[in-house]
Symmetry: C2
Subunit: 242 residues, 2 copies
């Protein structure tokens, strides 16, 4: 009868906090869901009925308890938590990727996943050291996009490049050869972004075509999820039509 | 001898938390700075010397105290706080604007100011009800961009439109006439964005040229600062060169 503990990176499961996120989880990762927790303040009604029906149909255990909410959720208005087994992704050679080199902020990673899914780039390589993609903060910031994202960790960029280097590689850095205005990928590509504070190491200037998003010198840089999203918007424009 | 209190919207002053932000404050809003607070754990050295010299040259009072840090800053590594009088901005008829209708999140507002400054759109109209732009969370998320931003509050969009409606107006909404891919402003313009949760009210579809940022139906929407930043990037491209 172990109590509920804070989420840790080593755990085999993670959590979708809140009902909207739990619905996303049930929709896209049904078979990974282990339990759904319901708080005593959850309102009766259509939404709960729908949730219960989904769990029943999928054979998912529903647990009524308030305890796990005190441990996992600091937010008010969180009355449903979906617990899920961590899942493995795979990257494909003929699919374009987003590559995050040493990302350190969970919220940023989730926000990038959300944009990436919006621009059809839901295959992501993450180069260690890096934040844990299953951290509930990533799940939340992704607004559920993580459940549709294929992500794979690599110990180094070299390891990634060995497997996937035969494509158009675009490292984004301030000291770059090309402007994003000029970049038009012709085939499969990878957009590569560095750490929030330090950006990409200078050796990335030797890899593929380095790119800068032009902006005035009144700011040092754009924030990471914004830079990544602008890059994804621009490079997928010819694929995603209005 | 009043003690230090939490920041409130009604206060005549606000705060730049941290040394980087305080340098930005001193650089761009010197005459608004009322005091600079220094924590006892602030390291001696070049950075502090530079800060002290700037304060001395500008006749700004330096206060050694740890108390205000306990009240204002939850972050570790915050050893300098710049206090400043709130300032008034003005919008110009011949300058393009960003218009935020009912923004509710301080971090988002600051992030938008940072991108806006990067894309030369540092004139911002804010339509009430709205978050307080001088909230230290906005200041921090803006990375100092707020000190170079001219922002003005309006009680309604009608009030803004009365003064500034004779320009290209682009309300961003999911149910829109045009795709961002097709939009090329010819003259002075305003980019209009709605609240984080609800977007723009449907009547904005009748104003100017409504615009959508095309994305897949796998996400409901892009997050607000990301949508705003992509829009600013695209509409200022012909002005900002690599």
């Amino acid at each position: 009868m172990a109590g509920y503990k804070r989420y840790r990176k080593e755990d085999p499961v993670s959590y979708a906090l809140g009902i909207t996120l739990t619905f996303e989880l049930l929709k896209y990762r049904t078979r990974q869901v282990t339990r759904v927790f319901i708080h005593s303040e959850m309102k009766q009604g259509e939404t709960l009925d729908k949730l219960m029906a989904l769990c029943r149909d999928a054979g998912i255990e529903v647990v009524y308890t308030n305890k796990i909410f005190n441990v996992l959720s600091q937010k008010e208005n969180c009355y449903v938590i979906g617990e899920f087994r961590k899942f493995k992704g795979t990257l494909e050679l003929d699919h374009s990727h987003v590559v995050l080199v040493n990302p350190s902020n969970a919220g940023n990673m989730g926000t990038i996943m959300r944009s990436a899914l919006g621009f059809g780039l839901q295959q992501m390589a993450i180069i260690r050291p890096a934040v844990d993609a299953f951290d509930p903060k990533v799940v939340r910031a992704s607004m559920g996009a993580i459940f549709s994202t294929n992500f794979v960790y690599f110990d180094s960029f070299a390891e990634y490049k060995e497997q996937f280097g035969a494509r158009e590689l675009y490292p984004f850095m301030l000291d770059a050869q090309s402007s994003l205005h000029q970049i038009r990928p012709q085939g499969t590509f990878s957009l590569i972004f560095g750490n929030e504070a330090t950006g990409l190491p200078s050796e990335f200037a030797q890899i593929g075509t380095s790119v800068i998003i032009p902006h005035s010198d009144r700011i040092d840089s754009l924030n990471l999820p914004i830079a990544a999203s602008i890059a994804m918007y621009e490079t997928t424009k010819h694929i995603i039509h209005a």
